[in-house]
């Protein structure tokens, strides 16, 4: 058994695909209509392994929506992505209009920053600090 797929709930798959590709720079791996209004969408990072996928899941389930909104109100990130140059990434994203709730901050083992993904989530970005 392997860890190969993770998912994040989004309030609109259209909006999410735009943000995760155009803004974050991930690449669409799958975008398959599965009936109704929903699609099976996954993205991969061009900087990572192309078989590690993130699924952009619709939060149409009220339980999912409640959980997502509670996390956001508490300022808790839904997931985290690793960066090899967090300062550069922070500046690139900020220039694209991304809103940060925490600018790059040294937190001991990692430097981390937190931003809004425009789809109802906060996302943490981190870079391991050199020992």
């Amino acid at each position: 058994m392997r860890i190969k797929l993770n998912s994040i709930m989004v309030d609109s798959q259209d909006k999410a695909l735009k943000f995760y590709t155009d803004v974050l720079g991930f690449v669409t791996k799958h975008d398959i209509p599965v009936g109704g209004e929903f699609r099976w969408i996954t993205v991969v990072s061009p900087e990572g392994r192309e078989d590690l996928e993130l699924s952009l899941e619709p939060n149409a389930n009220p339980a999912g929506k409640a959980f997502q909104e509670a996390l956001l109100k508490q300022g808790i990130p839904a997931t985290a992505f690793e960066s090899s140059d967090i300062q550069k990434e922070f500046e690139r994203l900020r220039a694209k209009g991304v809103v940060f709730t925490r600018e790059p901050t040294n937190a001991g083992p990692v430097t981390l920053a937190i931003f809004a993904d425009t789809c109802g989530n906060l996302i943490q970005m981190y870079q391991p600090n050199a020992r």
């Binding site: 797929l5 998912s7 709930m9 309030d11 609109s12 909006k15 943000f19 799958h30 398959i32 209509p33 599965v34 009936g35 109704g36 929903f38 699609r39 099976w40 699924s55 899941e57 619709p58 149409a60 389930n61 009220p62 999912g64 909104e69 956001l72 109100k73 300022g75 209009g97 991304v98 809103v99 940060f100 709730t101 925490r102 600018e103 809004a116 425009t118 789809c119 109802g120």
Partner: protein, 145 residues
């Protein structure tokens, strides 16, 4: 940088925009509830949620309309009023443009999916990761346009 306090206010404003008030609720009034100037409110809301407060409110109303058309016995006109539109014509046009089918036809398509009265059919509420099970796609009744 967005402070936690402002984030919480924006979340509260989003909750307000989902509600259907008795009287008209202006964006200015929602901004005041969020303790932000209208200009900053609209700008910050869009940056965090990816759409303007107005766009969000319209979408929330259409979502609620879909819910009522699926589960309630309200007429299309009642649904239109219930979600906060005053003109049936503009509601129907907007619904058709965004959802792809007029409200009455939407209802006709989704009703057969409701197996337990009052409970949204599973096809309209995907479980996490369950979408993958449907690849390459087992079309729902609703997609058979």
């Amino acid at each position: 940088m967005l402070s936690h306090r402002t984030l919480v206010r924006l979340c509260r404003a989003r909750d307000l925009l989902r509600e259907v008030p008795e009287g008209p609720l202006s964006i200015r009034a929602v901004a005041a509830e969020a303790e932000l100037s209208p200009y900053h409110f609209i700008r910050q809301f869009r940056a965090v949620f990816g759409e303007t407060p107005h766009q969000f409110r319209i979408q929330a109303r259409l979502d609620r309309a879909r819910h009522l058309l699926t589960l309630s016995s309200y007429s299309v006109t009642d649904v239109c009023m219930e979600v906060g539109f005053s003109s049936l014509g503009s509601f129907s046009d907007l619904f058709a443009r965004r959802i792809g089918t007029p409200p009455s036809e939407y209802r006709r398509r989704v009703r057969p999916l409701v197996q337990v009265p009052g409970r949204m059919p599973a096809e309209l509420i995907p479980d996490c990761l369950s979408l993958m099970c449907r690849v390459p796609g087992r079309p729902f009744a609703i997609s058979e346009k």
